[in-house]
């Protein structure tokens, strides 16, 4: 990713454009628009899937057809027309890739622009990367090192072929096909995504990382991630997202399922920077994502997210704290600017005894944007001694934006201890003057103050992501004060 210098920032601020808004001219294999059972079957066929998978998809499609798009979120948008989207687009490759050297040079250039050098830099920083472009996994690095420890890290399409028993057992077990409209859609048409299995007692020696990118116009991206941490294992997983700038809205409806078995720990970090639309609110990605994890006994799942992109975000990474003593965490920074709308938060479902959850949510609204926190903390009658602490802070910049909090707290056990706090603040004139007086200009001062505001969350990110995240915060708030 390289070190980001002040000069880099200055250059970017000057261009005042979405940084990742380039389009890569790679020949791609793309389905005509529209969705019906034939398309679902075709996707399955394209991927050489076994019959059980095809059936699974068709079942999901039938469920989806009966569902309606949810409207409860605090977002306003023109609903996508699901028949005008192409449900499969893959970079055309002559054969299956065995090493990075065989990757299309154009594609590699794309990743360079994204700040992902799949080469030495990553090797040095010890991150294994899987790259999903327009829903198809194109390169997975470090396979060998991982294999030695029995870690499986591969495209989910491969896992369906090579590890059907794991996929069959866990896929849809946390986010069922019937869960919601977008999850059902994803279950029917997902084209790829990452699969990861950490065997019993293994601590994954490196960060695992997936980069998602939507490239082709008029396509939707429906990736599916399944991550299983077997008993006593540990894994830290990073996910990054970008898309080119386009006039029309692009749809992204992903599903992520995490399973942390007894004593396992999963740390899942996301830096989401899909194209947010331009200054007038034109274009941008619709990001409708279902992310959920299950904790068995003594297990821990920690979600960290930095959300700066997308025109519409609808996303609630959640934890089902099923096992006794399990722990769920959610750390989030969501920035909205211009005409972006985000409705994001988490659900912490306490089922086991002595379960603990922490929610730290920092929302920053600027321009004409709207930023909502929506969260559920649920303590079931059998969950003795459950603990939750939630903190939701909003920072508003200007008087055209909105910051909203919708916490739901449902407690059915007398031994629960719940604390929820929310505050709203702005960047003070006196803070800006103080920074100015020390020679820091207003733009930089805002970046500094915003980073301070989000510090508790930024601190939770793995090092190499933290730098990128800070940079993203600065870029996304650019031009937000007159």
């Amino acid at each position: 990713m390289g070190k980001f210098t002040e000069d880099d920032l200055k250059k970017e601020l000057e261009t005042k454009e979405y940084e990742y808004g380039f389009y890569t001219d790679i020949e791609s294999d793309k389905f005509p628009v529209g969705l019906n059972e034939d398309v679902v079957i075709a996707i399955s066929k394209k991927k050489n899937e076994p019959a059980w998978m095809t059936e699974w998809r068709l079942d999901a499609f039938r469920i989806w057809k009966e569902m309606t798009e949810p409207e409860w979120a605090n977002v306003r948008y023109t609903k996508p027309s699901f028949q005008d989207i192409s449900y499969y687009s893959a970079p055309k490759t002559k054969k299956k890739l065995d090493s990075l050297d065989e990757v299309d040079p154009e594609l590699l250039k794309t990743f360079e622009k994204l700040g992902i050098s799949i080469g030495e830099q990553k090797r040095l920083s010890n991150v294994a990367v899987d790259i999903v472009m327009d829903s198809v996994s194109v390169a997975t690095t470090f396979k060998k090192t991982l294999n030695e420890r029995g870690i499986i890290f591969c495209p989910i399409s491969e896992a369906i072929q090579n590890h059907p028993e794991l996929v069959k057992k866990y896929m849809g077990s946390i986010v069922p096909k019937t869960d919601n409209f977008y999850a059902a859609l994803n279950s029917a048409v997902f084209s790829d995504g990452s699969f990861c299995y950490i065997p019993k007692g293994v601590t994954c020696p490196m960060e695992l990382s997936t980069y998602f990118r939507i490239n082709e116009g008029g396509t939707g991206q429906f990736e599916r991630t399944l991550l299983i941490a077997d008993e006593g294992s540990y894994v830290s997983y990073l996910e990054g997202c970008t898309a080119p700038a386009r006039d029309e809205n692009q749809l992204h409806a992903a599903v992520v399922e995490l399973i942390a078995l007894d004593d396992a720990e999963i740390k899942y970090s996301t830096v989401q920077n899909w194209f947010p639309g331009d200054k007038e609110g034109k274009g941008g990605v619709y990001n409708f994502v279902t992310k959920r994890g299950l904790c068995e006994k003594n297990a821990k799942i920690s979600w960290t997210q930095v959300e700066t992109g997308s025109a519409i975000t609808w996303k609630y990474p959640s934890c089902i704290l099923k096992g006794d003593n399990s722990v769920g965490e959610f750390y989030s920074i969501a920035v909205t600017n211009n005409f972006q709308q985000a409705d994001t938060g988490t659900k912490m479902i306490h089922l086991g005894n002595n379960t603990k959850s922490t929610i730290i949510s920092k929302g920053i609204s600027a321009g004409h944007s709207h930023n909502s926190y929506r969260g559920l903390v649920q303590i079931s009658p059998r969950a003795n001694n459950a603990r939750n602490f939630s903190q939701c802070d909003s920072l508003l910049m200007g008087d055209k934006c909105g910051a909203h909090t919708f916490p739901y707290i449902e407690v059915k056990n007398k031994s629960a201890q719940i604390e929820h706090e929310a505050t709203t603040s702005k960047i003070g004139e006196d803070q800006l003057f103080y920074c100015n007086q020390r020679g820091i200009n207003t733009e930089k001062a805002i970046a500094l103050i915003v980073n301070g505001f989000g510090k508790e969350v930024l601190n939770k990110l793995p090092m190499e992501f933290a730098v990128e995240a800070q940079k993203l915060l600065e870029i996304s708030l650019e031009g937000s004060v007159g």
Binding site: N436, R438, G439, G452
Partner: protein
């Protein structure tokens, strides 16, 4: 170095400064004293370029250059430092990160490369020792939960880091016990040189026992009504401000 000519300034239409004339040369220490509401802090804020105040007449020049059109950060880059009477809290931003940013922004403005991390760290340590600042203090959020003394010491620490040409200390003595006052004064004295100048703004003579001024000016109702040497401060302490009215 600093030249203030017939300076008039308003806030919300109310005139606070009514024609200030003042010249400070390099190597000098000036003190401005005056009763509450005489315009002392306003003068400091106007020199630093706070936008709440409207300059209606006159000018402020630094090294012959009129500052009027410059933003506060540009004035800072040119060497103006204001130690705030009430330093501002910035949650989540550490003292170290803040001062790093300030220094590198100033260097950038001057066309100098960023200070390498190692040198920066060394400088921070050196200056922190000068102000008897605990290392742990450097990783705390800026001014958040600081005691009065810690806030003021932090201001002088930043001054030491930024090495300004003109340091304006606005009521730096207020809220300090005698030990803290000595530390702060000691810091200021060590930073004094032939190349820079200090403008002390204070209500009491107390601070002037430790930082000896070359000139003392009395501000009253927006104007300098009397100027003299350091003995003027003792006279004020003895007689109060009433005899000037």
């Amino acid at each position: 170095m600093l030249k203030i000519n017939n300076l008039h300034a308003n806030i919300n239409g109310k005139e606070i400064l009514k024609g200030i004339n003042l010249e400070i040369k390099a190597g000098e220490v000036h003190a401005i004293m005056g009763p509450n509401g005489s315009g002392k802090s306003t003068l400091a804020a106007v020199i630093a370029g706070k936008e709440d105040f409207e300059v209606t007449e006159g000018s402020v020049e630094l090294n012959g250059e009129d500052l009027s059109d410059f933003a506060p950060e540009v004035r800072a880059h040119k060497g103006v430092f204001l130690s705030f009477q009430y330093p501002i809290e910035i949650p989540g931003v550490t003292v170290t990160n803040f001062i790093k940013t300030a220094i590198n922004e100033t260097r950038k403005a001057k066309g100098i490369a960023e200070l390498p991390a190692k040198e920066m760290l060394q400088l921070i340590r050196e200056k922190a020792d000068l102000l008897e600042i605990d290392r742990k203090f450097l990783s705390r959020s800026l001014n958040e939960g600081f005691s009065g003394g810690e806030k003021k010491r932090n201001e002088i620490f930043q001054m030491a880091m930024l090495e300004p040409q003109l340091a304006i200390l606005d009521e730096t003595d207020s809220g300090l016990d005698i030990d803290a006052l000595k530390v702060v004064a000691n810091g200021v004295n060590k930073l004094k040189s032939e190349k820079n100048a200090v403008l002390l703004i204070t209500h009491y003579q107390r601070l002037l026992d430790y930082i000896i001024p070359d000139f003392v000016h009395v501000l009253h109702n927006g104007k300098i009504v009397k100027s003299g040497g350091k003995e003027l401060a003792y006279e004020l302490e003895e007689k109060g401000y009433d005899w000037l009215k």
